[in-house]
């Protein structure tokens, strides 16, 4: 029996493999667990969705592609840049389920750009621009692009009516056609009132669970940060909730009070885990969403990040594939932190390093050996003067120390403000399309 099973696996998995959506582990850089083609080895390219800066190059938002393979002659160099012909506050991106297309959004103009990164990842092409999100939904500021089978779930930040933080989720099919919208809850559910704000989305398919977080609307994120923090009224308009949705019915089932703008959400997807984690930007906490002994979902703060009194502003997190560790970037003090999540109820910071005058996004490779950091938060929130460094920095991580691998100076190269990163790889060796294979 054992021998037979081994033979079947040998033939079935190694030789004749139907790639199925991977739901067993976390992602290599916080991608949807439904995506195919996770990169478990060396990534070849890092794509950076970059905010245009007036007077810098062509001033447009652009997708910048950097060679990330150490074996390449152009390792660490910008090999491609693709301007979208305007400046709309480039922010986040997400792959479609087949990892062939990258959807990228503008927080100011609410446009969504679809890049083909599957045909030739070294030279992405803009294949579609979706500009009907505000008209179809009343939402503005598309932020998170999360792959579901055959479609994208989009979390927005704002709305067209008052440009505040009340917003919602929308879905589009992979062809770019609008499907549906779902308002973030403003009613009271199980004694907690919804604030209607949105930010990130993350799904756990085994639990039919969708989690969302909440940030702020256009009125705040497109305003100078210094002005916002000095305006008590503006400071009232940040999200303070997370919402647990029934993914199948798309109905909100529970609201958690999570003060201080909870941002990125990461599920622990290895089997046996029943928790997700987020970081709150304004209160500098790690929050755990976990089932209690009675099976009820609960949210609680489980750690502080830096000194919350100094508002270090944790802005991005990246969980390891085994969900045992978490990178956290704090923008204001330019620090990259590593937390041991072996006991998710009690995360312990085991490492930190000053990685720049301002640091924002952090993405790690699947094997955890490489960590990439970018500098820009928002065009109106980035620091001024000499502290306004704009870079992508790549590091090696040996479990003890981050050591520099390469750096791209986005200001010097007249590119703009680098924000979100996604990895791609060349096609696997000796793979052809069905069309080519048929000799057409």
């Amino acid at each position: 029996m054992q021998i037979k099973r081994r033979l079947i696996l040998s033939c079935g998995v190694a030789a004749i493999m139907s790639i199925a959506a991977i739901a067993s582990y976390a992602d290599e850089t916080c991608n949807s667990p439904y995506m195919s083609g996770l990169i478990k080895g060396q990534e070849d390219f890092v794509h950076v969705w970059t905010l245009g800066v007036p007077g810098m190059g062509d001033g447009s938002d652009k997708l910048v592609t950097i060679d990330a393979n150490p074996a390449s002659k152009t390792y660490g160099k910008v090999i491609h840049k693709l301007s979208v012909g305007g400046r709309g506050e480039a922010h986040h991106m997400g792959f479609t389920d087949d990892r062939k297309y990258l959807w990228a959004g503008g927080l100011d103009d609410s446009k969504i750009y679809v890049f083909d990164v599957g045909t030739n990842p070294a030279h992405p092409k803009l294949v579609k621009t979706i500009d009907d999100l505000p008209a179809k939904t009343g939402y503005a500021g598309p932020h998170t692009f999360y792959a579901l089978p055959g479609r994208m779930l989009i979390g927005s930040l704002s709305n067209t009516a008052d440009k505040g933080g009340v917003t919602g989720l929308s879905s589009y099919n992979n062809k770019g056609g609008f499907i549906a919208k779902y308002d973030m809850p403003t009613a009271t559910i199980k004694q907690v009132k919804g604030d209607g704000y949105g930010y990130d989305v993350a799904v756990n398919p085994a639990k039919n669970a969708l989690l969302t977080t909440s940030f702020a609307g256009w009125n705040n994120y497109m305003r100078d940060l210094g002005e916002v923090v000095k305006d008590p009224e503006a400071m009232k308009h940040f999200g303070n909730t997370m919402v647990l949705w029934n993914l199948k019915t798309m109905q909100p089932e529970q609201i958690f009070a999570v003060p201080g703008a909870p941002l990125e959400i990461r599920w622990a997807l290895p089997e046996g885990n029943d928790w997700a984690i987020t970081a709150t930007a304004l209160t500098s906490k790690l929050w755990l969403v976990k089932r209690d002994a009675q099976g009820r979902w609960q949210a609680k703060d489980v750690a502080t990040i830096g000194d919350p009194a100094k508002i270090p502003l944790p802005v991005d997190i990246s969980i390891t594939a085994d969900a045992k560790g978490l990178w956290v970037n704090t923008f204001m003090d330019g620090t990259t932190h590593y937390f041991d999540l072996t006991d998710p109820e009690h995360p312990q910071q085991t490492y930190s390093k000053h990685t720049g005058s301002q640091v924002n996004m952090v993405s790690q490779s699947w094997d955890g050996r490489r960590v990439y950091i970018t500098s820009s938060l928002l065009s109106k929130w980035d620091k001024q003067g000499k502290d306004n460094e704009q870079f992508l920095r790549a590091f090696h991580w040996d479990g003890h120390e981050l050591t520099p691998a390469f750096e791209v100076d986005f200001a010097k190269e007249q590119l703009g403000r680098p924000h979100h990163m996604k990895f791609t790889a060349n096609s696997p060796q000796r793979v052809a399309s069905l069309e080519d294979a048929s000799g057409r």
Partner: protein
């Protein structure tokens, strides 16, 4: 591994393809879907209108030409892609085992009698001729009262628009000489289509949860029944 590849040659293997350079994508370990929740009751939710199915001309297992529109309208349809020589335990065999489970659930529900069909479309028309598809189908078409159609295409170019419409990716491994092998890569997907030809749900491996899929079928059936209670939204 060699044994698997040597089982039989498809026409795909007769065409030389230049080998691509570089490799970093690991498809990773697939696992069977887990379900740690109670499926929402049928009719308590609305399934999204994801996309309309385009028409195409394919071949049935007797070799007759059929319009895909004829098999994606009039009934609730669950459509998937496969190839007959796929042996990945979490690939086509798993998909068809899941469908067989669903077929039995549907057969046991009198309210669904004659209202549900399954359609399986081959990804490799160069190997999966109507005759081969017919032999493969024998295991699954045990109940003549349940419509489970197995289709293929006359040629690959006839299949490509169908794959493109459904967003079904497929690629083929080539050997060291650049010749196509019998290793096909595809992301397992099933498409739930309402009687009007609209895709209402798409299941990848993580979503192949028979109870949820059955409730989705029931939800579509209830929506088509004017006497049925209306969903919440």
């Amino acid at each position: 591994m060699r044994g698997c590849r040597a089982v039989a040659l498809s026409l795909l293997s007769l065409v030389g393809i230049p080998a691509a350079a570089g490799a970093a994508v690991d498809p990773g370990k697939a696992t069977a879907p887990r379900m740690e929740f109670a499926a929402p009751p049928p009719g308590s939710y609305t399934l999204q209108m994801i996309q309309r199915v385009s028409d195409a001309v394919l071949l049935d297992s007797t070799g007759r030409t059929v319009r895909l529109s004829a098999l994606t309208r009039g009934k609730i349809t669950l459509l998937t892609f496969f190839y007959t020589y796929c042996v990945d335990p979490l690939g086509c065999p798993f998909a068809h085992t899941t469908l067989a489970d669903l077929r039995d659930r549907v057969r046991a529900d009198r309210s669904l009698s004659g209202r549900v069909r399954f359609v399986s479309v081959s990804l490799d028309p160069t190997h999966d001729t109507p005759a081969i598809v017919a032999r493969y189908a024998e295991e699954f078409t045990i109940d003549p009262k349940f419509e489970w159609r197995f289709l293929t295409a006359g040629r690959v170019p006839q299949l490509l628009p169908v794959l493109d419409d459904f967003g079904q990716d497929v690629s083929v491994d080539v050997d060291e000489n650049g010749r196509a092998t019998r290793t096909l890569h595809h992301m397992l997907k099933m498409f739930l289509i309402d009687p009007h030809g609209e895709v209402r749900e798409i299941y990848s491996l993580a979503f192949l949860q028979p109870q949820v899929m059955f409730n989705d079928i029931k939800t579509l059936a209830l929506a088509a029944d004017p006497a049925a209670p209306r969903p919440r939204s």
